[in-house]
Point group: C2
Chain length 269, copies 2
Protein backbone atom coordinates (compact mmCIF):
# COMPACT_ATOMS: atom_id res chain seq x y z
CA UNK A 1 0.00 0.00 0.00
CA UNK A 2 1.26 3.46 -0.90
CA UNK A 3 1.50 5.41 2.35
CA UNK A 4 1.61 8.89 0.77
CA UNK A 5 0.19 10.52 -2.33
CA UNK A 6 1.84 13.76 -3.39
CA UNK A 7 -0.48 14.43 -6.33
CA UNK A 8 -2.34 17.74 -6.02
CA UNK A 9 -5.83 18.24 -4.69
CA UNK A 10 -8.09 19.80 -7.34
CA UNK A 11 -10.30 22.61 -6.06
CA UNK A 12 -12.74 24.42 -8.32
CA UNK A 13 -15.27 27.21 -7.99
CA UNK A 14 -17.09 29.65 -10.25
CA UNK A 15 -14.65 32.38 -9.24
CA UNK A 16 -12.66 33.49 -6.21
CA UNK A 17 -14.81 32.03 -3.42
CA UNK A 18 -13.25 28.57 -3.46
CA UNK A 19 -9.92 30.13 -2.48
CA UNK A 20 -11.27 30.31 1.09
CA UNK A 21 -11.39 26.48 0.99
CA UNK A 22 -7.88 26.35 -0.50
CA UNK A 23 -6.62 28.69 2.24
CA UNK A 24 -8.21 26.64 5.02
CA UNK A 25 -6.90 23.42 3.46
CA UNK A 26 -3.32 24.63 3.10
CA UNK A 27 -3.42 26.01 6.65
CA UNK A 28 -4.48 22.59 7.93
CA UNK A 29 -2.38 20.51 5.50
CA UNK A 30 0.66 22.58 4.49
CA UNK A 31 2.18 19.64 2.58
CA UNK A 32 -0.69 19.30 0.08
CA UNK A 33 -0.27 20.60 -3.47
CA UNK A 34 -3.32 22.32 -4.92
CA UNK A 35 -4.56 22.91 -8.47
CA UNK A 36 -7.26 25.62 -8.35
CA UNK A 37 -9.73 26.41 -11.11
CA UNK A 38 -11.96 29.51 -11.13
CA UNK A 39 -14.48 29.63 -14.01
CA UNK A 40 -14.29 33.41 -14.12
CA UNK A 41 -15.71 33.65 -17.67
CA UNK A 42 -19.06 32.41 -16.34
CA UNK A 43 -19.03 33.61 -12.72
CA UNK A 44 -21.40 33.76 -10.86
CA UNK A 45 -23.03 30.29 -10.91
CA UNK A 46 -25.43 30.99 -8.03
CA UNK A 47 -28.13 32.75 -10.06
CA UNK A 48 -28.04 30.28 -12.97
CA UNK A 49 -30.18 27.23 -13.77
CA UNK A 50 -29.59 23.69 -12.56
CA UNK A 51 -28.94 22.55 -16.17
CA UNK A 52 -26.34 25.25 -16.76
CA UNK A 53 -24.60 24.62 -13.43
CA UNK A 54 -24.39 20.85 -14.09
CA UNK A 55 -22.93 21.48 -17.57
CA UNK A 56 -20.35 23.95 -16.23
CA UNK A 57 -19.43 21.62 -13.32
CA UNK A 58 -18.74 18.70 -15.66
CA UNK A 59 -16.37 20.85 -17.70
CA UNK A 60 -14.68 22.02 -14.49
CA UNK A 61 -14.15 18.43 -13.29
CA UNK A 62 -12.83 17.32 -16.71
CA UNK A 63 -10.20 20.03 -16.51
CA UNK A 64 -9.28 19.17 -12.91
CA UNK A 65 -8.80 15.50 -13.86
CA UNK A 66 -6.61 16.52 -16.80
CA UNK A 67 -4.25 18.04 -14.20
CA UNK A 68 -3.68 14.65 -12.55
CA UNK A 69 -5.31 15.45 -9.22
CA UNK A 70 -5.91 12.76 -6.58
CA UNK A 71 -9.33 14.11 -5.64
CA UNK A 72 -11.59 16.97 -6.65
CA UNK A 73 -13.32 19.38 -4.28
CA UNK A 74 -16.33 21.27 -5.61
CA UNK A 75 -15.48 24.31 -3.49
CA UNK A 76 -18.68 25.99 -4.54
CA UNK A 77 -21.85 25.49 -2.56
CA UNK A 78 -23.96 26.04 -5.67
CA UNK A 79 -22.23 23.19 -7.55
CA UNK A 80 -22.23 20.97 -4.44
CA UNK A 81 -25.94 21.60 -3.96
CA UNK A 82 -27.18 20.96 -7.48
CA UNK A 83 -24.49 19.05 -9.44
CA UNK A 84 -22.64 16.74 -7.02
CA UNK A 85 -24.90 13.72 -7.51
CA UNK A 86 -24.56 14.04 -11.27
CA UNK A 87 -20.76 14.36 -10.99
CA UNK A 88 -20.45 11.32 -8.71
CA UNK A 89 -22.62 9.27 -11.07
CA UNK A 90 -20.58 10.26 -14.14
CA UNK A 91 -17.17 9.80 -12.45
CA UNK A 92 -17.73 6.67 -10.32
CA UNK A 93 -13.97 5.90 -10.06
CA UNK A 94 -12.97 9.38 -8.92
CA UNK A 95 -13.16 11.02 -5.52
CA UNK A 96 -15.32 14.14 -5.69
CA UNK A 97 -16.10 15.98 -2.46
CA UNK A 98 -18.48 18.90 -1.98
CA UNK A 99 -18.77 21.65 0.60
CA UNK A 100 -22.42 20.94 1.47
CA UNK A 101 -21.64 17.66 3.26
CA UNK A 102 -18.98 19.49 5.27
CA UNK A 103 -21.36 22.30 6.18
CA UNK A 104 -23.98 19.77 7.27
CA UNK A 105 -21.43 17.96 9.46
CA UNK A 106 -20.34 21.28 10.99
CA UNK A 107 -23.95 21.93 12.02
CA UNK A 108 -24.44 18.43 13.44
CA UNK A 109 -21.09 18.47 15.30
CA UNK A 110 -21.86 21.91 16.77
CA UNK A 111 -24.87 20.59 18.67
CA UNK A 112 -27.03 23.66 17.94
CA UNK A 113 -30.83 23.38 18.00
CA UNK A 114 -31.67 26.14 15.53
CA UNK A 115 -29.56 27.22 12.55
CA UNK A 116 -30.01 29.71 9.74
CA UNK A 117 -28.34 28.73 6.45
CA UNK A 118 -27.40 31.51 4.05
CA UNK A 119 -26.27 31.00 0.46
CA UNK A 120 -26.85 31.83 -3.19
CA UNK A 121 -30.30 31.55 -4.72
CA UNK A 122 -29.42 28.22 -6.43
CA UNK A 123 -28.02 26.73 -3.20
CA UNK A 124 -31.03 27.76 -1.13
CA UNK A 125 -33.56 26.73 -3.80
CA UNK A 126 -31.95 23.27 -3.91
CA UNK A 127 -32.81 22.83 -0.21
CA UNK A 128 -29.65 20.68 0.03
CA UNK A 129 -28.57 21.96 3.45
CA UNK A 130 -31.94 21.48 5.11
CA UNK A 131 -32.29 18.00 3.62
CA UNK A 132 -28.75 17.06 4.71
CA UNK A 133 -29.19 18.38 8.24
CA UNK A 134 -32.59 16.71 8.68
CA UNK A 135 -31.27 13.40 7.31
CA UNK A 136 -28.84 13.41 10.26
CA UNK A 137 -31.05 15.05 12.90
CA UNK A 138 -34.61 16.05 12.14
CA UNK A 139 -35.01 17.89 15.46
CA UNK A 140 -32.79 20.77 14.34
CA UNK A 141 -34.75 23.85 13.23
CA UNK A 142 -33.39 25.08 9.89
CA UNK A 143 -34.17 28.39 8.18
CA UNK A 144 -32.74 28.94 4.69
CA UNK A 145 -32.16 32.43 3.29
CA UNK A 146 -30.81 33.36 -0.15
CA UNK A 147 -28.48 36.40 -0.07
CA UNK A 148 -27.61 37.01 -3.76
CA UNK A 149 -25.91 40.38 -3.23
CA UNK A 150 -23.20 39.05 -0.92
CA UNK A 151 -21.18 37.43 -3.74
CA UNK A 152 -20.87 40.63 -5.82
CA UNK A 153 -20.04 42.56 -2.63
CA UNK A 154 -17.25 40.10 -1.74
CA UNK A 155 -15.91 40.07 -5.31
CA UNK A 156 -15.90 43.91 -5.19
CA UNK A 157 -14.02 43.86 -1.85
CA UNK A 158 -16.88 45.50 0.07
CA UNK A 159 -16.93 43.46 3.29
CA UNK A 160 -17.27 46.28 5.84
CA UNK A 161 -18.68 49.83 5.98
CA UNK A 162 -22.24 51.15 5.68
CA UNK A 163 -23.33 49.02 2.71
CA UNK A 164 -22.75 45.70 4.45
CA UNK A 165 -25.20 46.03 7.40
CA UNK A 166 -27.74 47.60 5.00
CA UNK A 167 -27.53 44.46 2.85
CA UNK A 168 -27.69 42.25 5.97
CA UNK A 169 -30.88 44.12 6.95
CA UNK A 170 -32.40 43.22 3.58
CA UNK A 171 -31.85 39.50 4.05
CA UNK A 172 -31.28 38.92 7.77
CA UNK A 173 -33.21 41.78 9.39
CA UNK A 174 -35.89 39.53 10.83
CA UNK A 175 -33.25 37.20 12.35
CA UNK A 176 -31.60 40.04 14.22
CA UNK A 177 -34.54 40.35 16.66
CA UNK A 178 -34.93 36.59 16.94
CA UNK A 179 -31.43 35.21 16.47
CA UNK A 180 -30.80 31.50 15.78
CA UNK A 181 -28.12 29.58 17.69
CA UNK A 182 -25.89 29.48 14.63
CA UNK A 183 -25.53 30.92 11.15
CA UNK A 184 -24.07 28.55 8.55
CA UNK A 185 -22.14 30.34 5.79
CA UNK A 186 -23.31 28.21 2.86
CA UNK A 187 -21.25 29.98 0.23
CA UNK A 188 -17.46 30.00 -0.01
CA UNK A 189 -17.48 33.79 -0.49
CA UNK A 190 -19.13 34.39 2.84
CA UNK A 191 -16.18 33.79 5.21
CA UNK A 192 -15.13 37.31 4.19
CA UNK A 193 -18.23 38.59 6.03
CA UNK A 194 -17.62 36.53 9.20
CA UNK A 195 -16.48 39.55 11.24
CA UNK A 196 -19.24 41.84 9.93
CA UNK A 197 -21.86 39.17 10.66
CA UNK A 198 -20.51 38.68 14.17
CA UNK A 199 -20.82 42.45 14.73
CA UNK A 200 -24.29 42.52 13.15
CA UNK A 201 -25.56 39.88 15.61
CA UNK A 202 -23.61 41.42 18.54
CA UNK A 203 -21.63 38.20 18.93
CA UNK A 204 -24.79 36.30 19.91
CA UNK A 205 -24.86 33.93 16.93
CA UNK A 206 -22.25 31.26 16.36
CA UNK A 207 -20.80 31.51 12.85
CA UNK A 208 -20.25 28.12 11.16
CA UNK A 209 -18.32 28.12 7.93
CA UNK A 210 -18.58 25.51 5.16
CA UNK A 211 -15.08 26.41 3.85
CA UNK A 212 -13.27 25.71 7.14
CA UNK A 213 -15.43 22.63 7.69
CA UNK A 214 -14.54 21.35 4.21
CA UNK A 215 -10.81 21.67 4.95
CA UNK A 216 -11.23 19.80 8.26
CA UNK A 217 -13.19 16.91 6.77
CA UNK A 218 -10.93 16.69 3.70
CA UNK A 219 -7.93 16.34 6.03
CA UNK A 220 -9.68 13.51 7.84
CA UNK A 221 -10.61 11.86 4.51
CA UNK A 222 -7.01 11.99 3.24
CA UNK A 223 -5.68 10.37 6.41
CA UNK A 224 -8.38 7.69 6.55
CA UNK A 225 -7.76 6.73 2.92
CA UNK A 226 -3.96 6.96 3.18
CA UNK A 227 -3.70 9.51 0.38
CA UNK A 228 -2.27 12.46 2.31
CA UNK A 229 0.90 14.02 0.94
CA UNK A 230 4.25 13.24 2.56
CA UNK A 231 4.77 15.72 5.42
CA UNK A 232 8.08 16.73 3.85
CA UNK A 233 6.46 17.48 0.47
CA UNK A 234 7.14 20.94 -0.94
CA UNK A 235 3.70 21.70 -2.34
CA UNK A 236 2.84 23.61 -5.48
CA UNK A 237 -0.17 25.89 -5.88
CA UNK A 238 -1.37 26.14 -9.48
CA UNK A 239 -4.11 28.60 -10.39
CA UNK A 240 -6.22 28.39 -13.55
CA UNK A 241 -9.01 30.72 -14.62
CA UNK A 242 -11.21 30.98 -17.71
CA UNK A 243 -10.97 34.79 -17.88
CA UNK A 244 -9.10 37.77 -16.45
CA UNK A 245 -6.03 36.17 -14.82
CA UNK A 246 -4.57 39.50 -13.70
CA UNK A 247 -7.82 40.66 -12.04
CA UNK A 248 -8.01 37.26 -10.35
CA UNK A 249 -4.43 37.59 -9.14
CA UNK A 250 -5.13 41.05 -7.75
CA UNK A 251 -8.23 39.98 -5.78
CA UNK A 252 -7.02 36.50 -4.79
CA UNK A 253 -4.90 37.72 -1.87
CA UNK A 254 -8.05 38.86 -0.06
CA UNK A 255 -9.49 35.35 -0.23
CA UNK A 256 -6.32 33.29 0.08
CA UNK A 257 -4.51 35.40 2.67
CA UNK A 258 -1.41 35.58 0.42
CA UNK A 259 -0.50 36.18 -3.23
CA UNK A 260 -1.39 33.12 -5.37
CA UNK A 261 1.67 32.96 -7.67
CA UNK A 262 1.16 32.61 -11.42
CA UNK A 263 -2.42 32.49 -12.70
CA UNK A 264 -2.90 30.78 -16.07
CA UNK A 265 -5.84 31.41 -18.42
CA UNK A 266 -7.46 28.31 -19.96
CA UNK A 267 -10.54 27.59 -22.14
CA UNK A 268 -13.31 25.26 -21.01
CA UNK A 269 -16.25 25.69 -23.40
CA UNK B 1 -37.31 51.77 -53.24
CA UNK B 2 -39.10 49.88 -50.48
CA UNK B 3 -40.75 52.49 -48.27
CA UNK B 4 -41.29 50.28 -45.21
CA UNK B 5 -39.49 47.33 -43.62
CA UNK B 6 -41.52 45.27 -41.16
CA UNK B 7 -38.67 42.90 -40.22
CA UNK B 8 -37.86 42.99 -36.50
CA UNK B 9 -35.12 45.00 -34.85
CA UNK B 10 -32.64 42.74 -33.05
CA UNK B 11 -31.65 43.92 -29.58
CA UNK B 12 -29.19 41.99 -27.43
CA UNK B 13 -27.63 42.36 -24.01
CA UNK B 14 -25.90 40.17 -21.45
CA UNK B 15 -29.12 40.00 -19.44
CA UNK B 16 -32.09 42.16 -18.58
CA UNK B 17 -30.57 45.63 -18.99
CA UNK B 18 -31.15 45.91 -22.74
CA UNK B 19 -34.88 45.71 -22.11
CA UNK B 20 -34.72 49.39 -21.10
CA UNK B 21 -33.64 50.09 -24.70
CA UNK B 22 -36.44 47.85 -26.04
CA UNK B 23 -38.96 49.67 -23.84
CA UNK B 24 -37.80 53.12 -24.97
CA UNK B 25 -37.77 51.97 -28.60
CA UNK B 26 -41.27 50.51 -28.55
CA UNK B 27 -42.53 53.62 -26.75
CA UNK B 28 -41.09 55.76 -29.51
CA UNK B 29 -41.82 53.39 -32.41
CA UNK B 30 -44.85 51.27 -31.47
CA UNK B 31 -45.00 49.67 -34.94
CA UNK B 32 -41.53 48.07 -34.73
CA UNK B 33 -41.22 44.34 -34.06
CA UNK B 34 -38.37 43.36 -31.74
CA UNK B 35 -36.34 40.18 -31.26
CA UNK B 36 -34.56 40.40 -27.90
CA UNK B 37 -31.65 38.23 -26.79
CA UNK B 38 -30.34 38.14 -23.20
CA UNK B 39 -27.21 35.99 -22.72
CA UNK B 40 -28.28 35.10 -19.18
CA UNK B 41 -26.01 32.02 -18.99
CA UNK B 42 -22.99 34.34 -19.03
CA UNK B 43 -24.34 37.52 -17.45
CA UNK B 44 -22.73 39.85 -16.38
CA UNK B 45 -20.35 40.88 -19.18
CA UNK B 46 -19.14 44.05 -17.46
CA UNK B 47 -16.47 42.44 -15.28
CA UNK B 48 -15.10 40.17 -18.01
CA UNK B 49 -12.15 40.52 -20.39
CA UNK B 50 -12.18 42.23 -23.78
CA UNK B 51 -11.46 38.88 -25.49
CA UNK B 52 -14.35 37.14 -23.76
CA UNK B 53 -16.78 40.00 -24.45
CA UNK B 54 -15.86 40.08 -28.17
CA UNK B 55 -16.35 36.30 -28.43
CA UNK B 56 -19.72 36.46 -26.68
CA UNK B 57 -20.87 39.45 -28.78
CA UNK B 58 -20.12 37.64 -32.05
CA UNK B 59 -22.24 34.70 -30.96
CA UNK B 60 -25.02 37.10 -29.94
CA UNK B 61 -24.98 38.83 -33.35
CA UNK B 62 -24.95 35.49 -35.22
CA UNK B 63 -28.10 34.49 -33.37
CA UNK B 64 -29.78 37.85 -34.01
CA UNK B 65 -29.05 37.57 -37.74
CA UNK B 66 -30.49 34.04 -37.78
CA UNK B 67 -33.79 35.63 -36.69
CA UNK B 68 -33.96 37.73 -39.87
CA UNK B 69 -33.60 41.14 -38.22
CA UNK B 70 -33.15 44.33 -40.25
CA UNK B 71 -30.59 45.78 -37.86
CA UNK B 72 -28.90 44.80 -34.63
CA UNK B 73 -28.59 46.99 -31.55
CA UNK B 74 -25.89 46.09 -29.05
CA UNK B 75 -28.03 47.29 -26.13
CA UNK B 76 -25.17 46.72 -23.74
CA UNK B 77 -22.69 49.46 -23.05
CA UNK B 78 -19.97 46.92 -22.30
CA UNK B 79 -20.33 45.29 -25.75
CA UNK B 80 -20.68 48.67 -27.46
CA UNK B 81 -17.55 49.91 -25.74
CA UNK B 82 -15.21 47.01 -26.42
CA UNK B 83 -16.66 44.88 -29.28
CA UNK B 84 -18.52 47.19 -31.69
CA UNK B 85 -15.53 47.89 -33.96
CA UNK B 86 -14.84 44.17 -34.24
CA UNK B 87 -18.52 43.44 -35.01
CA UNK B 88 -18.73 46.16 -37.67
CA UNK B 89 -15.55 44.83 -39.28
CA UNK B 90 -16.80 41.23 -39.34
CA UNK B 91 -20.32 42.09 -40.55
CA UNK B 92 -19.66 44.88 -43.09
CA UNK B 93 -23.01 44.37 -44.87
CA UNK B 94 -25.11 44.50 -41.71
CA UNK B 95 -26.33 47.45 -39.67
CA UNK B 96 -25.04 47.19 -36.12
CA UNK B 97 -25.71 50.07 -33.74
CA UNK B 98 -24.36 50.52 -30.23
CA UNK B 99 -25.51 52.48 -27.20
CA UNK B 100 -22.22 54.32 -26.71
CA UNK B 101 -22.65 56.50 -29.82
CA UNK B 102 -26.14 57.39 -28.60
CA UNK B 103 -24.89 58.28 -25.13
CA UNK B 104 -22.16 60.45 -26.64
CA UNK B 105 -24.71 62.27 -28.81
CA UNK B 106 -26.96 62.81 -25.79
CA UNK B 107 -24.07 64.52 -24.00
CA UNK B 108 -23.17 66.68 -27.00
CA UNK B 109 -26.82 67.62 -27.70
CA UNK B 110 -27.38 68.53 -24.02
CA UNK B 111 -24.82 71.33 -24.18
CA UNK B 112 -23.35 70.54 -20.74
CA UNK B 113 -19.80 71.57 -19.88
CA UNK B 114 -18.98 68.91 -17.33
CA UNK B 115 -20.32 65.34 -17.30
CA UNK B 116 -19.70 62.29 -15.15
CA UNK B 117 -20.06 58.95 -16.97
CA UNK B 118 -20.93 55.89 -14.90
CA UNK B 119 -20.81 52.30 -16.18
CA UNK B 120 -19.43 48.81 -15.68
CA UNK B 121 -15.71 48.26 -15.15
CA UNK B 122 -15.24 47.09 -18.76
CA UNK B 123 -17.09 50.12 -20.18
CA UNK B 124 -15.16 52.60 -18.06
CA UNK B 125 -11.78 50.89 -18.65
CA UNK B 126 -12.41 51.09 -22.41
CA UNK B 127 -12.56 54.90 -22.12
CA UNK B 128 -15.04 54.78 -25.04
CA UNK B 129 -17.34 57.52 -23.71
CA UNK B 130 -14.57 60.01 -22.98
CA UNK B 131 -12.97 59.37 -26.38
CA UNK B 132 -16.33 59.71 -28.14
CA UNK B 133 -17.27 62.92 -26.33
CA UNK B 134 -13.85 64.47 -26.87
CA UNK B 135 -13.88 63.52 -30.56
CA UNK B 136 -16.97 65.73 -30.88
CA UNK B 137 -16.08 68.45 -28.36
CA UNK B 138 -12.81 68.40 -26.49
CA UNK B 139 -13.85 71.28 -24.20
CA UNK B 140 -16.27 69.10 -22.24
CA UNK B 141 -14.90 67.91 -18.90
CA UNK B 142 -15.49 64.17 -18.54
CA UNK B 143 -15.10 62.07 -15.40
CA UNK B 144 -15.54 58.31 -15.70
CA UNK B 145 -16.51 56.14 -12.75
CA UNK B 146 -17.00 52.35 -12.69
CA UNK B 147 -19.93 51.27 -10.46
CA UNK B 148 -19.82 47.44 -10.60
CA UNK B 149 -22.37 46.83 -7.82
CA UNK B 150 -25.22 48.64 -9.59
CA UNK B 151 -25.89 45.79 -12.06
CA UNK B 152 -26.35 43.11 -9.36
CA UNK B 153 -28.50 45.56 -7.37
CA UNK B 154 -30.74 46.22 -10.40
CA UNK B 155 -30.96 42.50 -11.27
CA UNK B 156 -31.92 41.86 -7.61
CA UNK B 157 -34.61 44.57 -7.77
CA UNK B 158 -32.92 46.77 -5.16
CA UNK B 159 -33.29 50.25 -6.67
CA UNK B 160 -34.40 52.19 -3.58
CA UNK B 161 -34.00 51.99 0.20
CA UNK B 162 -30.96 52.30 2.45
CA UNK B 163 -28.57 50.16 0.38
CA UNK B 164 -28.79 52.33 -2.73
CA UNK B 165 -27.46 55.66 -1.35
CA UNK B 166 -24.80 53.69 0.58
CA UNK B 167 -23.61 52.21 -2.73
CA UNK B 168 -23.82 55.65 -4.39
CA UNK B 169 -21.61 56.99 -1.57
CA UNK B 170 -19.01 54.33 -2.41
CA UNK B 171 -18.74 55.38 -6.05
CA UNK B 172 -20.20 58.89 -6.29
CA UNK B 173 -19.59 60.34 -2.83
CA UNK B 174 -16.97 62.80 -4.02
CA UNK B 175 -19.28 64.05 -6.80
CA UNK B 176 -22.03 64.86 -4.33
CA UNK B 177 -20.10 67.80 -2.89
CA UNK B 178 -18.91 68.92 -6.30
CA UNK B 179 -21.68 67.92 -8.71
CA UNK B 180 -21.16 67.85 -12.50
CA UNK B 181 -23.74 69.39 -14.85
CA UNK B 182 -24.89 65.97 -15.95
CA UNK B 183 -24.56 62.29 -15.13
CA UNK B 184 -24.59 59.92 -18.11
CA UNK B 185 -26.01 56.48 -17.32
CA UNK B 186 -23.54 54.44 -19.37
CA UNK B 187 -25.15 51.06 -18.62
CA UNK B 188 -28.59 49.91 -19.72
CA UNK B 189 -29.37 48.70 -16.19
CA UNK B 190 -28.93 52.15 -14.71
CA UNK B 191 -32.20 53.80 -15.84
CA UNK B 192 -33.75 51.86 -12.93
CA UNK B 193 -31.71 54.12 -10.61
CA UNK B 194 -32.69 57.39 -12.33
CA UNK B 195 -35.04 58.46 -9.54
CA UNK B 196 -32.69 57.42 -6.73
CA UNK B 197 -29.83 59.28 -8.43
CA UNK B 198 -31.97 62.38 -8.84
CA UNK B 199 -32.75 62.26 -5.10
CA UNK B 200 -29.09 61.60 -4.23
CA UNK B 201 -28.00 64.74 -6.07
CA UNK B 202 -31.02 66.75 -4.80
CA UNK B 203 -32.18 67.28 -8.40
CA UNK B 204 -29.06 69.36 -9.14
CA UNK B 205 -27.57 67.01 -11.74
CA UNK B 206 -29.19 66.37 -15.09
CA UNK B 207 -29.58 62.62 -15.72
CA UNK B 208 -28.77 61.56 -19.29
CA UNK B 209 -29.62 58.03 -20.28
CA UNK B 210 -27.93 55.98 -23.01
CA UNK B 211 -31.02 53.72 -23.34
CA UNK B 212 -33.48 56.54 -24.12
CA UNK B 213 -30.89 58.21 -26.35
CA UNK B 214 -30.40 54.94 -28.27
CA UNK B 215 -34.16 54.68 -28.95
CA UNK B 216 -34.23 58.30 -30.17
CA UNK B 217 -31.29 57.94 -32.54
CA UNK B 218 -32.45 54.52 -33.79
CA UNK B 219 -35.83 56.06 -34.69
CA UNK B 220 -34.02 58.77 -36.65
CA UNK B 221 -31.80 56.19 -38.36
CA UNK B 222 -34.78 54.06 -39.44
CA UNK B 223 -36.54 57.08 -40.97
CA UNK B 224 -33.42 58.39 -42.70
CA UNK B 225 -32.72 54.99 -44.25
CA UNK B 226 -36.37 54.27 -45.10
CA UNK B 227 -36.41 51.04 -43.12
CA UNK B 228 -39.02 51.94 -40.49
CA UNK B 229 -41.96 49.55 -40.12
CA UNK B 230 -45.33 50.44 -41.62
CA UNK B 231 -47.25 52.55 -39.07
CA UNK B 232 -50.10 50.04 -39.28
CA UNK B 233 -47.82 47.09 -38.51
CA UNK B 234 -48.89 44.87 -35.58
CA UNK B 235 -45.50 44.22 -34.05
CA UNK B 236 -44.26 41.06 -32.37
CA UNK B 237 -41.90 40.97 -29.40
CA UNK B 238 -39.79 37.80 -29.25
CA UNK B 239 -37.59 37.11 -26.24
CA UNK B 240 -34.67 34.66 -26.22
CA UNK B 241 -32.36 33.85 -23.34
CA UNK B 242 -29.49 31.40 -22.82
CA UNK B 243 -30.61 30.43 -19.32
CA UNK B 244 -33.48 30.76 -16.85
CA UNK B 245 -36.40 31.86 -19.05
CA UNK B 246 -38.90 31.89 -16.18
CA UNK B 247 -36.64 34.03 -13.93
CA UNK B 248 -36.12 36.35 -16.89
CA UNK B 249 -39.85 36.57 -17.46
CA UNK B 250 -40.46 37.37 -13.80
CA UNK B 251 -37.91 40.21 -13.67
CA UNK B 252 -38.47 41.56 -17.20
CA UNK B 253 -41.57 43.56 -16.29
CA UNK B 254 -39.46 45.81 -14.06
CA UNK B 255 -37.21 46.70 -17.00
CA UNK B 256 -39.74 46.63 -19.82
CA UNK B 257 -42.67 48.23 -18.04
CA UNK B 258 -44.94 45.32 -19.03
CA UNK B 259 -44.85 41.50 -19.20
CA UNK B 260 -42.68 40.30 -22.13
CA UNK B 261 -44.81 37.40 -23.45
CA UNK B 262 -43.16 34.06 -24.11
CA UNK B 263 -39.43 33.73 -23.35
CA UNK B 264 -37.58 30.99 -25.24
CA UNK B 265 -34.35 29.34 -24.08
CA UNK B 266 -31.65 28.90 -26.73
CA UNK B 267 -28.01 27.71 -26.80
CA UNK B 268 -25.21 29.94 -28.06
CA UNK B 269 -21.89 28.29 -27.11
Amino acid sequence: MKPFDNRPIGIFDSGLGGLTVAAALQHKLPGEAVAYLGDTARVPYGDKSVDAIIRFAHQDVEFMLSRGVKLVIAACNTVSAVALDSLKRDYPDRIILGVIDSGVRAVIDSGVERVAVIGTRATINSDAYRRGIHAADCSIRVESIACPLLVPLAEEGVTSGAIVPAVFDLYLGRLRNDPPDALLLGCTHYPLFAEALNDYFDGKVRILDSATACAKYTAEFLCEHHIAAHPGNTPSFGCFVTDMPSEFHRHATRFLGRAPGRVERINLA
